[in-house]
Each structure stands twice: as structure tokens, then as C-alpha cells.
Amino acid sequence: MSQTIPQKFYYCILALCLLATVQQTYAHATLTQAQPAPGAQLSQPPTEIRLVFNEPVTADSTITLFTPNFQTIPGLTTHLDPAGVGEVFTTLPPLEPNEYTVQWTAVSADRHQISGSYTFTITAKTANTSWLWRGGGFIGGILVVWWLARRRAT
């Protein structure tokens, strides 16, 4: 016998009720994306650090940046990105070539708190014409040897 409309309606209501009883669960936030990425080697200093977690985090979450001798880069303010769930960022001042550690603390809506850290590096700038100087040095070396040999011959 086919189900009557009221029976289908009741089954839908029952299903919705069952779904409604599923308890909301919480977890410690996990870092899923990071810019700069852990272990990144950058030729240009980044202008911001942006972290994405697997769940919403609160404004109590923080991002700290420090150098290998634990000197904290001052003036960083952590912001929640309203466009991204679980996304926080901080803008950076101009950074010198060095290795940096990003230390983050993520505070979930249920007050769970977890911290983590990773490093990235800004490499020193290299001269665009370094290949030219190196080539010139090699040729110059050859010519010096040739010149000395000519002097001895004469």
C-alpha cells in the first residue's frame, strides 16, 4: 500500500527531529592552511600572515612572529577575517632577510585553546647581474694567466 501524504510528512518530521538531537560537537582547532607556508623560502618579504583553521575561532586567537633569537616582531595585531570561517591574519612590517617563526594560538568558540609554531625564511637578495660578474671573473682569470705567460716569453 502506498504511503499517504500525512505518513510521509510524519516521517520527514521524525527525521528532522532525529537530526535535531545530534549533539553539537567541538574540537581543538587544527591549522589547515598557512601563508607563508611552513618551511617556505621567500625571495620577497611577505606583507601578511594568514592562517586558516578547520573551525571558527574567536578574536582571542593570536599570531606572533619572532626571529631565531626570540626577538618578537612588534606591532602585530591579529584580525579575524569575516569572509573566511576560521581565518585569521596579521599585516607585517617590512622584514629583513632572516628565518622567522610564526607562533599561533587558536581559541575555539568553546574556549578550547591550542598553540603551534612553524618557520619560514626570507632569503637575501642576490644581484641580477651576478652571472655576468662571475663570467667576467672567469675570463679575467684566463687572460691574467695568458698575460703573465706572454710577459715571461718576452
Binding site: H28, P68, P97, E99, H112, S115, S117, S130, W133, W147
Partner: protein
């Protein structure tokens, strides 16, 4: 002697000028060679070692002066980092001179492997940790983190008397599903109050965990560790589970969280037969780490 405008065609002067020019050519070539060598040196990258993609995740809390338990996990992307053989750490008081060094102990008998170190930190303040990770292929990577060490711990200190909590048990709350947010709670964990346990003359394990409302890898398995150790030691010790939340909808915390000074969870305390704190653990706790603390207290 040749006229000034005949210098180049004058035989004597011509020889002298030619000789001078030859020397100048040699000097210029030598300078080009030196410049090339300098360019070679300057073009090398300033940073010799590649930074590690490994992340350090701090999974314990409440760091205070003394020897706090610092637990951390190592991540490579979303996965646990593998191939880490040893972790040697040095700690330095930032803007100070005090240092400490030691080696972390791995615990891989947990859902996610983690490491523990008990650094000697005699001064409150910010301490910078440098971890030297030796991989299975003998390569080395480095990671750093900072912890804020407080003058006093929020939770009961080692050696202090445990708060004599009158936590809910099956005697005061017959509905076991109100005593635990987990599935199929073990009634053996809801028989005693802490106040009763600390006067019993037996060691006690008190676990503050919310198994149903925290499904992360860091906190959910703690109760499993407690159950596993309980199965091994039997009646020689007592085990109490205190659910973190009194109301699972409103998420109001039980009063015992405030009595014990706990702002995070999970927490596990090991009490000796006199009801004093013998060990305390925040964050992940493997069966082996718990057993190492409890077994020496057993009769």
C-alpha cells in the same frame, strides 16, 4: 727628446707608453678576476639550511615556575610528522640568561603521537625553546616556540592536597548519561567522590574529560587511556571520571572545574594514598605515561 704631440710616435716614449699600457691591462684583468671572485661569494644565499616544514603544536597548558609538563606534537602538514628519532631541546629565558637543555620523551601509544619534556624553569617570564629534531636518516631540523611561564600554577601543584570535591556519582545522580557525555559510560568510574577517595588509603586517578563534546584527537582518547590503565591495575587504585559539563546544551561547566582551577580540558590527576597530587597532566595522556606515574604508587 720628442715634442709633446709626437709622444706616441717617438720611439723612446712609445716604448715607455706601450709598457705602461701593458701593465695597466694586466692590472685591469686582475681586478676583473677579483670582482668575479667576490661576485661568486656574494651570490650564495644568506641562509644555508632549509627551514623545516614541520610544525610544533603545543598540546598542554598551565606552565608555571618549576618543572612544568610541556607536551607537544609534531605535524607535517595535516598529518603527524613521521621519522623523528629524537628531540633535543634548549630553553632560554628571553631577555635573561637562564638556560636549560634536555631531551623529550616520545609517547606513540596514543591516537596522535606526542612528546613530553619537563624543563627546569626557575623564573617566570617568556621562555624560548629550540627543538633539534633528529630524523631517522640522521638529518636534523630545527623548530622553535615560546611559552609564557607564570609564577604560580592555576591547578593544584605537585604535593598539595587535592580538593575534596563532592562530585556527582551514581549515588547522587542515577542517570549515568547525565554523568558523562560519552557513549556507553563505564559505571565503575562514577562510584566515588574525590572526598571519599582521598580518605580511602588508595591511590586515585581523577580525570576531567568531556568524551562526547570534544571529539578532537587531543582530548577524546584520554578517557580511553584511563580505562586501559584501570583494566591493568584493577582494584589497587581508584578511578574517577568527572564530566566537564553539567549541562550539555548550555555547556555550563561543573563546579569542580573551578575548585581545581581548570580553564582547559582534559586534565588527569594522580593522587597518592594520602590524597596528595603526585602527578598532573593536561592535554593528551597515553596509557604508558599514566602508568608510569601511577604504578610506583601502588602497594
Amino acid at each position: 727628446m720628442c715634442p709633446g704631440d709626437q709622444v706616441i710616435r717617438c720611439p723612446g716614449k712609445k716604448v715607455a707608453v706601450y709598457a705602461f699600457c701593458r701593465h695597466m691591462v694586466g692590472y685591469c684583468l686582475f681586478l676583473v678576476l677579483i670582482a668575479g671572485l667576490v661576485a661568486c661569494r656574494q651570490s650564495q644565499p644568506a641562509i644555508v639550511e632549509s627551514p623545516s616544514p614541520i610544525q610544533m603544536v603545543l598540546v598542554s597548558s598551565d606552565f608555571a615556575v618549576g618543572q612544568p609538563r610541556v607536551a607537544f606534537a609534531l605535524r607535517d602538514g595535516p598529518q603527524a610528522a613521521t621519522g623523528v628519532q629524537t628531540v633535543a631541546l634548549t630553553a632560554v629565558l628571553i631577555d635573561g640568561e637562564t638556560t636549560w637543555s634536555g631531551t623529550a620523551t616520545p609517547y606513540d601509544d596514543y591516537e596522535i603521537p606526542y612528546w613530553v619534556v619537563y624543563p627546569e624553569l626557575p623564573t617566570a617570564g617568556f621562555w624560548g625553546f629550540t627543538a633539534q629534531l633528529t630524523m631517522n636518516d640522521n638529518s636534523a631540523v630545527e623548530a622553535t616556540f615560546i611559552i609564557d611561564v607564570k609564577a604560580n600554577s592555576l591547578s593544584p601543584v605537585i604535593g598539595a592536597a587535592a580538593p575534596a570535591s563532592q562530585n556527582r556519582t551514581l549515588a547522587s545522580e542515577p542517570d549515568i548519561n547525565k554523568l558523562s557525555s560519552g557513549q556507553n559510560p563505564n559505571s565503575a568510574l562514577y562510584q566515588l567522590t574525590v572526598a571519599e577517595a582521598i580518605t580511602s588509603g588508595k591511590p586515585t586517578v581523577v580525570a576531567f574529560v568531556t568524551p562526547g563534546l570534544c571529539e578532537s584527537e587531543w582530548c577524546l582518547p584520554v578517557l580511553n587511556s584511563v580505562e586501559e590503565v584501570r583494566a591493568n591495575v584493577g582494584q589497587a587504585s581508584q578511578f574517577i571520571h568527572i564530566e566537564v559539563y553539567e549541562d550539555f546544551e548550555k555547556l555550563t561547566r561543573v563546579k569542580e572545574m573551578r575548585e581545581w582551577g581548570l580553564e582547559t580540558e582534559p586534565w588527569v590527576f594522580v593522587l597518592d594514598e594520602n590524597g596528595r597530587i603526585a602527578a598532573k597532566f593536561s592535554g593528551p595522556l597515553s596509557p604508558r605515561e599514566l602508568s608510569n606515574a601511577l604504578v610506583p604508587l601502588l602497594p
